[in-house]
Structures are given as structure tokens and as C-alpha cells.
């Protein structure tokens, strides 16, 4: 059971809460307190819109322990509209073919069970094809 490590990151995981650098305005995800662009201290919270585009993707067929029940699943690097990239599963693909550049949006989904059947459920961001282009 690793509850503290999941609990500590709930804001980032549930809602893509990162940081914005007060010095150079770079948006930062995951939060890291030191701006990767200008090196200044950056602790101001920033909630990302959850909109982005697929930078690349792959299909996980041999899933690691704890993820077997979801295999096969697609993992992507998503370039968020605000700048940073994030690694996340794509979900609700249906018959849709994933393509580099495809617009996607964040949803909060169940990532795994900490301990099967007994442990806490870990929720976090995934991305799906955008439902409405206008939003």
C-alpha cells in the first residue's frame, strides 16, 4: 500500500494542476518548483486546460504488473496547448485511428488499483479524442 505517494499528487493527477513561472510565464507540468526554462523559483499553481495534440503514441501489449487488465492500451506523449508535454494513456478511442497531431482532451479516469481488490483506486488524467472542436 502506497497511499501517501498517490495522495500527495492528487491535484496533478485529477486535474492537471501544474505551475506557472512568475518570471518568464512558462507553464510547467509536472510541477517542479524550479522553472525548467529560466531557472527561477516557480511555485504559482496553474491549472491546464487539458487540451493538446498527440506528439507520439504507442500501444502497450505486454503490460507491467498492475496494468495487465487494461492491455492492450495506448500511451501517448501529449503536447499541451499551454506548452509542456505530458505522458498519458489515450482512452475511449473506439475505432478511431490515433495519429500524430490529433487533438485530444483530458479526462479523469481510473489508472490502477494500488493493491488488487483491496487497495485504493488511483485516479488520474488520460486523454481522449476531442468531443467538440469548438470547446
Amino acid at each position: 500500500m502506497e497511499n501517501p505517494r498517490y495522495w500527495r499528487l492528487k491535484k496533478q493527477r485529477y486535474g492537471l494542476v501544474g505551475e506557472v513561472c512568475p518570471h518568464c510565464e512558462s507553464k510547467i507540468f509536472p510541477p517542479r518548483d524550479v522553472c525548467p526554462e529560466c531557472g527561477s523559483e516557480a511555485r504559482t499553481e496553474f491549472t491546464f486546460s487539458g487540451k493538446g495534440k498527440v506528439y507520439s503514441y504507442t500501444v502497450m501489449r505486454d503490460a507491467p504488473a498492475g496494468y495487465e487488465q487494461n492491455a492492450p492500451y495506448t500511451v501517448a506523449i501529449v503536447a499541451l496547448d499551454e506548452g509542456p508535454m505530458v505522458t498519458a494513456q489515450l482512452t475511449d478511442l473506439g475505432e478511431e485511428k490515433v495519429q500524430i497531431g490529433m487533438p485530444v482532451e483530458m479526462v479523469t479516469r481510473k489508472l490502477r488499483e494500488d493493491v488488487e481488490k483491496k487497495g485504493i483506486l488511483v485516479y488520474g488524467y488520460k486523454f481522449r479524442p476531442v468531443m467538440r472542436a469548438s470547446n
Partner: protein, 385 residues
Amino acid sequence: MSDIVIAGIGQIPVGEHYTIGLREMGVRALVQALHDSGDLKPDALYIGNLLSSMISHQSNLGALFTDYARLGGIESYTAEAAGASGAAALRLGVLAIRSGQANTVAVLGVEKWSDLVRSEAEAAIMQEMDYDYESIPGLTSTGQAGLIMQRYLNDYDLPPDALNGFAMLAHANGAHNPCSIFKNQVSPESYARSGMLCDPLNMYDGATYADGAAALVLTRRDLLPKNFPHPVIRVSGSAASSDSLSWHDRHEPMAFNAAARAVSSAAEHAGILPGQVSLFELDDPFSIYAALTLEACGLADRGKAWQMARDGEFAIHGRLPILTMGGCLARGNPIGAKGIYQVAEAVTQLRGAAGANQVTNARSALTLSLGGPASTAIAHVLERE
């Protein structure tokens, strides 16, 4: 020129060693290397390993191996740099001798992989990535490679089998390496038929993780035994560099900057250009990493390494031989031990003892070991006197 020499090498075959554990594997490689060096007595033992604490439930490997190899109380501990752990241990040894703290150093790369079922072992190796932001979303190291291979094929508008040249050359060379796990040849047809691991990365693009142990004995040139039976191989360059754990924290993921930095500073240290070496034991846990390394180091134009591999430019008798004993793709990937295998293989070439795989007139070799997707990169230059 440096006066640090590699006096001894030892390797056990890479594979699934069900009958022996972590300690027996490591001790066998160490004993071999010490014997090969003319029974030098090391003042320190540095160990490269990634997974023993998870897979073998064993840490404090320094105490374990100095005891079991009867090295009597010398300084010893582990260097961990994911897949570059072995190379990190070697660099510790180089620094220890260069600083004057040690005269003779044994370096051991050891990894026990086969004690866990695959999904659990995959979960263990995920710790080399960004656990919170890559592993928790369900990515593995193989998935990381699949992600960047997809982007590579897309950006250069390449067919899905573009990278098959690396598996073909690795297997051609690995077939003659007594320590390699695979002895089969790969053809374009068998590559095309191969099952997917992490699309578009197929089973020939990803090296099989396996057990392995390899060891080196380093010493000062003036301390070599009289009647030392081998050609003298010097370590003339050593450098390490780092980058972010994950692709998503890099502006240009395909740049492989740490690989480029480590290679150029090790070469500069040795006073040569990377393209001048007789052979390059680069790191190929995945074929795409071989391509990105060659391109990052200026040994192939961007988006062209795959074509050069297909054209035979990296074959044993090509312009710049790579993976001369099969690399990870054919020898197998013993993770924290692979950096020592690479150097042992390069020494074999420079000694002129590589048999069917001998690179003609091999005088110098470059080795590069990667931890993660070039998150850590450690390079060495070896030269024959």
C-alpha cells in the same frame, strides 16, 4: 595518453541462469577477469547493478561480492545509473585510479533478471523512468522506445520496417559471440513477420532482457605483471552526461543530447574524433536508440542512420562497425551489466581475439552506455598500444 589499462575481462553467457543466483553469476565473472589479468589484487571493487534490490531482494552488493570473491575487506559499493550502471561503475574505477586513491580496481556489472515472471520484472525496470509521470500512466521502457520510434518514422516519412538494418547486423554479429543469447540470423522477411511489442516497435527492435555478469580489472600501466599475455588496452577517454528522465521533459526528444555530449567529451579527452575509431560499441536496448545515437554523435545525418545500417556501413567490414559482438539486440540486454559487456567486447576486438567477428586492424574503440532513453550516457574510449 592515460596510463590506465584494462588488464582483465570476464563474461558469463547472457541468458536465463535459473540454476545460479546473483552472487554466483557475479563471482564467476569476477574470478574470470582477475585470472585474465594475471591475478592482480584490486584495492577496490565497483559494481554496476539496477535491479538487485527489487528482483533479488539484495542490496549492499559491495559487501556481498568482496566476501564471496574473497577480495578481503577492500572498498566496494554499487553505482546505479539504470542501464548505464555498469559503465558508471567503470567510470568510478577510472576516477579512483586517476585520482591516486586506487592502483588496481575490479569492476563488475551484474544483473539477475529471470527470477521474476515477465510482468513483475517489467514493473521492476519501470523504475528507471519517471515513476510518477511515466510509469503510473502505464508506460514501460519498451513503451518509451515505441513512442520515439513512432515519431521518428513519422518525421522522416519512413516505412514501418525502416530500422530492420540494426536487428539484421546485430544478429549477424551475435551469431559468433559465445556469450550471446541469440544465434539466429534476421532477414527482412522475418523482421516483417515479427510480433509487435509496443507499436511500431517489434520483437526484433527490442532487446531481450536477460541475466548477465561481466567484469573488468583496471590497473596502472606500470603495475601490469611481467609476461602480461595480452596486448595492452588503455582507457584514453571517459565522460558522462545526463538528460531528463522522460521524453516529455525534453524540447527535442530525438536529439539524444546526453549521448552526444558524453561521446564528444570522451573523444576529446582521448584526442580523437568519434568517427576515427575502429569500432563503436553503442547501446541498443532498442534499435531506435542505435539510430538516434549515431545521428546525435554526428556519425549519420538526421533521419539517415537507418539507411546506412541497411547499406552495411555499420557491419564488421563496413565504414564504422557497431555492435560487433551482437549488441543488446542479439547478445541480450543484461541491463546494469551491459556497460561492462560492451567494454569487454571492445577489449576482445582490440586484443584481436574476436574470431569471426574481428574488425580488421582494430586500434581504438568507442563505447557508449545509456540509462533510460539517454537520460544517462557514459562513454569511454579504448586504445591499443
